[in-house]
């Protein structure tokens, strides 16, 4: 749906040129929710603005829905932009217009008649659950309601793509969740391709199918969200994922006196990482039933990466040497990641 080929952006100024975006390739599939995550100043705003050409790239090509935007004149671009909706961190609603008139705005620009506009605005008000707020002004709305208006406005011209520029960064966690639910809902219902830029890992975790990590104008890592989150490669990605998935060992285990090999009477400490369907398997009771071992849980964390359950469990396995070894083999044979941390004396 969206293809960026070798897109770069440099801001020229007397004080020195700023390379906001190094030559970047990006491919976003139709109907997916694609996250671009980075710290402020990483170039993510520039990147997303290159998609609808609010920022003209210094070099490279931009394709949206098969059309090359980088070849177009301003006039042609204005037409194409109608099929690319955009929502913003600070909502950017027109303060002098009511909710209804804000949603009608893009349609007015296209020259639709009043009755045509009414036909489109009404269902949008229902979609974002603001039917009873149609005559309110933005200043009378909460942040979440304002963003709902922003979403309805962006959807008014039946876009194929929705760009979200830090759309939830100004909202509290609960409102963020409701906005993300709404985005996911319209993604499914309308088959809309959503590009979402954010610095909030929780946002990517909740709704993105694929993700790109950007730093200093360079995409340092990209791939399926679950993969990038569970097996981060780049240090920046690791730093980001740390806040959501704690890959470090808990303090209580760090303090333990551990040895690498089994000694008489020691207990096996093992970390199990579950992903997807394996999260439903009764691993612990399976071990206890099959082998004469005692299993106690030291640490546990279960999370959800979009629709994929993801869990970490650190367990202590006590018993005879042979039984522990057999239990370990059993774990290795399962569809989960098993890491031996050590043997506690």
């Amino acid at each position: 749906m969206i293809d960026l080929v070798n897109v770069a952006k440099t801001y020229y100024s007397k004080a020195g040129d700023i390379k906001a975006l190094q030559p970047t390739d990006l491919h976003i599939r139709s109907g997916e929710i694609f996250g671009i995550i980075g710290l402020s100043g990483a170039g993510k705003s520039t990147l997303v603005r290159c998609i609808n050409m609010l920022e003209r790239p210094s070099s490279g090509q931009v394709f949206v829905d098969g059309q090359e935007l980088t070849k177009m004149s301003e006039k042609e671009l204005r037409k194409v932009r109608r099929s690319i909706g955009m929502i913003f961190q600070h909502f950017n609603l027109l303060a002098s217009r009511t909710v209804y008139d804000n949603i009608a705005f893009p349609l007015e620009i296209q020259g639709l008649s009043k009755s045509e506009i009414a036909k489109k605005v009404q269902p949008l008000l229902e979609l974002v659950q603001l039917e009873d707020r149609a005559d309110y002004y933005p200043s009378q709305l909460s942040g979440g309601q304002k963003q709902r208006v922003g979403i309805a406005r962006a959807l008014a011209s039946d876009p194929k793509v929705l760009l979200c520029d830090e759309a939830t960064s100004a909202l509290d966690p609960q409102t963020t969740k409701s906005i993300l639910d709404l985005l996911q809902n319209i993604n499914k219902k309308l088959g809309l391709t959503i590009v979402l830029i954010t610095h909030q890992m929780e946002v990517v975790k909740a709704i993105c199918d694929r993700v790109a990590v950007i730093e200093n104008g360079v995409i340092v890592e990209q791939g399926s969200m679950v993969e990038v989150f569970t097996q981060p490669q780049h240090p920046t990605t690791k730093e980001f994922t740390k806040s959501v998935i704690n890959a470090e060992l808990p303090e209580i285990i760090k303090k333990m006196a551990l040895s690498d090999t089994y000694e008489e009477g020691s207990k096996l400490i093992v970390r199990l990482t579950f992903l997807g369907d394996s999260a439903g398997e009764p691993i612990v009771s399976g071990m206890v039933k099959r082998f004469d071992v005692e299993v106690s849980i030291i640490y546990g964390n279960i999370d959800q990466l979009k629709d994929t359950p993801f869990g970490i469990l650190i367990v202590e396995v006590a018993g005879e040497k042979n039984n522990i070894a057999a239990a370990l083999d059993y774990l290795h044979a399962r569809e989960l990641k098993t890491e031996v941390i050590g043997y506690e004396l």
Binding site: R81, H90, N92, F105, I109, P138
Partner: protein, 219 residues
Amino acid sequence: MSSEMIDLLLKSFWETCYMVGASTLLATLIGLPLGVILTVTRRDHILPNQPLNTVLGAVVNATRSTPFIILMVAIIPLTRFIVGSSIGTTAAIVPLTISAAPFIARIIESSLLEISPGVIEAAEAMGASPMQIITKVLIPEARHSIVLGVTLAIISLIGYSAMAGTLGGGGLGDLAIRYGYQRFQMDVMVATVVVLIFMVQAMQSLGDWLSKKLNKNKL
């Protein structure tokens, strides 16, 4: 005060209203597009055009820095060309308009600059043309602030119109000078000033009320 004087006061009041009203209307008609151009041709705005911005800015500044009384005398040939005479109430409208237009242009410019760049960007992202951004975003969003600015211009025009009176323009200022000052009729002087105070108060209240009504930022 004799009834003759009251008639004269009333006549002068209407002359002032006529001068101020007509010059406000004309100055706004000139100042609004001028203010819009001064705004949108800025470097970071929707139609950047540095040379045009610089030239226009210089013209506006030059007009604004010329004292009104000098401007009025200096443009007498132009006034005569437009109105056919350089004396009279209608003739006074020309210098009043020319002095108020750049003032209004600057006021409109500063009102338009208050609009957040994000709102303009949102309109661009929806495919709005520069003209649509001007007529559907910039001016409607700034209207409450523009109303306050025009109120300010009306009040200074009331002051200037008194000066225009000295060139045979008529109006309250003329009355105050000729009867109150030159003929030592203190009552006329006081009455004129009271009427002027009343006018300014009324205009300011009207402007405040209208601006508040149009402002949807604080509800």
